[in-house]
């Protein structure tokens, strides 16, 4: 029983020993690291945003979320390799394409399963296997390559300390900008428009909304499609950092979930909080120790967080 806690401690000792000559914590490096953490935050935010719509707003447990990210990346790949399209130009297309696929999925699968959360979870897991399989049949398992726009290259150096540069790559900045932009647009759509009001009405009380003349099935379809579209945009933006492959979405699924749940699913701002919390603590711990240890610690912290605040960081306590 106490094997595990001991292992955890001994692992830190072991890692410390395995590391090269102990490095002093360099203020420049740690600043750089925290700034770079913004890049991780951007990716988490981008991948979690779609999920915060499908899960946070609609309460659909969508395990195929990673595959919608993958579909977005492939859309960009296809457009880029066939029409030499700029990555930025492909964003609307990957949004539309994944949203379309999302709408189809909603109509054929998800719609039949409202109110049966576990069934949705299983069906979307099946869907994720199928989407991967189909993409693999079309494009083979070979890695594909997406070019970043040539004008978003290099590093931005806000200042230097003692000749050492504090810097962050423009592409990371672009990611966080895109993420915040999409967050803003989503917040506006959800809280500032009639459609958004209808969405919230439907998710809070389907029957009542229907009585008030809201076309609930249309609202459901649009909302789900929008969430999937956001995942598609995430896929496009991430694609140029890594390579495109059928199984690429799997890497993001667990992290996106943690981001959404840690921040709190009821408020859109929760996903931002979750991303900042997980991204920056990951970056800081990874710098002090290493990446795998950081991941273990952050996941453990998220478990503790859920235990004590299941409603997330940014949700008010509810009656009962």
């Amino acid at each position: 029983m106490n094997v595990l806690p001991f292992n955890a401690i001994s692992s830190l000792v072991y890692l410390a020993q395995a590391s090269p000559p102990a490095k002093a914590i360099d203020p420049v490096a740690i600043t750089n690291q925290l700034l770079n953490g913004v890049g991780i935050v951007g990716i988490l935010l981008l991948t979690g945003l779609g999920l915060s719509i499908t899960f946070g707003v609609m309460r659909i447990i969508n395990l195929a979320h990673g595959e919608f990210i993958m579909l977005g990346a492939y859309t960009t790949f296809v457009l880029q390799s066939n029409f030499k399209m700029d990555l930025l130009m492909t964003i609307p297309f990957s949004f539309l394409f994944t949203a379309l696929v999302g709408a189809l999925v909603e109509v054929t699968i998800v719609r039949r399963l409202y109110g049966r959360a576990i069934e949705t979870l299983l069906a979307t897991w099946g869907l994720s296997i199928v989407l991967q399989g189909v993409v693999k049949l079309i494009f083979t398992a070979q890695l594909k390559y997406v070019k970043a726009p040539p004008y978003i290259r290099g590093n931005w150096t806000p200042f230097t300390i003692g000749g050492q540069a504090i810097e962050i790559s423009y592409y990371r900045l672009f990611i966080i900008f895109m993420a915040l932009l999409l967050l803003g647009i989503t917040a506006y759509l959800l809280y500032g428009t009639t459609l958004g009001r209808e969405v919230r009405a439907v998710t809070q009380n389907r029957e009542m909304a229907r009585c008030l003349g809201v076309n609930t099935s249309l609202v459901d379809m649009l909302t789900f499609a929008y969430g999937c579209g956001l995942a598609g945009v995430a896929g496009t933006v991430i694609a140029s950092l890594k390579s495109v492959a059928p199984a690429m979405g799997q890497d993001y699924l667990v992290d996106a979930w943690m981001t959404v749940v840690a921040g709190g699913v009821d408020k859109l701002v929760g996903v931002l909080a979750g991303a900042v919390l997980i991204g920056e603590s990951n970056a800081a711990i990874a710098y002090l120790l290493n990446d795998p240890t950081a991941r273990v610690i952050v996941l453990a912290a998220v478990i503790v967080l859920i235990r004590y605040r299941p409603e997330g960081l940014f949700t008010v306590q509810k009656r009962g």
């Binding site: 399963l113 897991w125 296997i129 199928v130 399989g133 667990v254 478990i303 299941p310």
Partner: protein, 361 residues
Amino acid sequence: MAQALGQVQQSSFIPKKWQIINLVALLIFIIFPFVAGTFQTNLMAKLLLFGILGVSLDLVWGFTGILSFAHGVFFTLGGYATAYYLKLNLSAAANNYGGTVPDFMVWNGLKELPWFIAPLQYFPVAIVAMVAIPAGFAYAIGSFIFRSKVSGVYITVITLAIASALTTFFVSQQAYTGGTNGITDVSKLILFGMVVPPIGIYFIILAFATLTIAGSWWLTKSNFGLILRSIKENEKRISYLGYDVASFKIFVWTLSAAIAGICGGLFVPLNNFISPVYLGVAFGTQIVIWVAVGGRGTLFGPVIAAILLGQLQNSVDRITQDWQLIVGIILMVVVLFLPDGLMSLLPNKLFSSSSNKLEKT
């Protein structure tokens, strides 16, 4: 009439037809290794183990309503316990590096056996660890999360995080766990001074499976089972009747982890290795799929599903390399059209006893 009433509630009562079916099924499994080849016997033993692993998940999910993706974790913890035992008992001739320190530890610079692994070279310790480590870990987690207001999908997210974190942890602790490779090159299982042949392992697994199913049947038919089902339907209500829901959840969760641990422990002598691949979310999901396809809340469903899906994958692989696409389609079809799983295809008459009228006594 009072006796008739008793029948329905007593755990020992099993409808006759169903008894016969069970006996026939058991007979088929006993004859199976003598008819089928080495490979099929080995595969069937593995699928039986996976099926029982499904049953262990079914106890917490199908009966109690807690969906867990972490059952692979308990399985793997039990597996590592026996894997260390078998590895540490590898004959000196087979250990390239001599001494008692396993090869993967030598590669990672360990000079001597860590104290927390060393006791596992003794058979009784390993057997106890195989059950106690997963059960103890489950108990710790269970006490932590079930004694709070966390429920439903959040529990599931926590299990996702546990599976993900432990995978990363086991992979990164290469010196102690063998990393991604896990523990390989283990010795054969030796009981009473004899190497257990594959068919012997098959029968050990069959005996374990029979016992687990019988035990689970008895458990779920008891008052305890009734309480589990009430927790699944409405866990708040039952606490106002004076039941401490958390302790019931912790108990069934720990019990289920213990069963999963034994599955893992028996898996190693069968398959000769254990690795973090069984810790991960993907394997955890596979267990969930066996239960979902077989039928939640049925004890035979997960076993039937594990065997059918395993055999299906084995035969479809001969036709197409894209067999997991087909598994995905089947999963979607089952969820959409057969929400209660394969077991719901069986006629209800098999399970229901004739209903009785209640009379005043």
